[in-house]
Symmetry: C2
Subunit: 200 residues, 2 copies
Amino acid sequence: MNDELLRILPRPPEERADAARNRVRVLEAAGRLFAEGGTDALSVDAVAREAGVGKGTVFRRFGDKSGLVSALLDRKERELQEGIVFGPPPLGPGAPPRERVQAFFSAYITYLADHLDLVRLSETAAPGARFRTGAYVFWHRHLELLCAGLPDADHLAHVLLGAVAADLNTELLARGIGWDRVRAGVAAAVDAHFAAAERP
Amino acid sequence: MNDELLRILPRPPEERADAARNRVRVLEAAGRLFAEGGTDALSVDAVAREAGVGKGTVFRRFGDKSGLVSALLDRKERELQEGIVFGPPPLGPGAPPRERVQAFFSAYITYLADHLDLVRLSETAAPGARFRTGAYVFWHRHLELLCAGLPDADHLAHVLLGAVAADLNTELLARGIGWDRVRAGVAAAVDAHFAAAERP
DNA sequence: ACAGGAAGCGGACCCAAGTCCGCTTCTCTT
DNA sequence: AAGAGAAGCGGACTTGGGTCCGCTTCCTGT
């Protein structure tokens, strides 16, 4: 009967065994290379060689370099995402929108500060890559919902996310604007928008 | 006597004749190629070939591809810059800061909409290129001065400029968010910040 | 006019991302 | 157990940005 069900309802196409094996090989290789040599060591060729796999395989698995790096970041991103969906307020559900937005940016900036190089790589490896990652879509949607009361929440969410773009903040860091000022600045921007909407 | 002066005060190193000739050749070639085939046709190799010049020459003149494209945009940028420095209010001097900021973004968005592809190329050709162009420095300084009364004008100026980044707006356009909504959204952001500062 | 040195020139070369395609491996079906 | 077809594999190849360096052109001082 189990067999019957399986035949009748062929499960969504699963990853083949060799494919799955190579996925973890590549990811482990990439992690190793990054740990040793930073983003400079992360050429696709080098990753493929270290993983003992052909270059084509890497691209087949991850689409492009940006996808590979995103996959590397996936675990950390998920932590944040779970905190948003299931965690305690103010990051999780339960607090008023304004506080949740503040909590999100505070947490995101921590995440960004911890992984700036990789995030930057994942956002700039291909032009426009930033906006197509699952993560971006998630953050945007989250903010859009929280800003539902404000004018054009869709656009506003994009603009707010622009303030935590990796290449901008790499530049700010280089110019001596530290994470404390970034935190304060972003918080001020969020407050400004919510305050504007709260008034007649 | 003219000769004397010239000898005593050797003018700042001028561009050599052949160099100047090649600069205009390259720029004209690039303009031609772009007019015909858009940004896709703008590979450095193609530009060099069209200009009848070696590839190395292009890089020597313009530094990198981003620099070449910036040079293409230079004329249009200057118009805006002159309007800011010498033109009539509210874009030029004389109007209150808030209105000047609004006027700037309005004008900038018009410029951006007219040259989105080229601006995008100049901002993304090299990672971080955006922040190093003379134009960006100019816009940033302008905004920073106008926002002098607000908290952390330096950071704020960067964040506001983030809202008119070319790759973001390319994406917004693709998602059906038109220039009218961008205009409104940016104007709202500016207003929110100024309003926040005007209150106790 | 000319000599010397700086500035410029060009194209071969390098590196890294991404594509292609003939071959191999897996998995499903009977 | 075996055959067939899909999925995956790998590495040669393409493309495009950027560097290098021996040669040429220009400008300056005499």
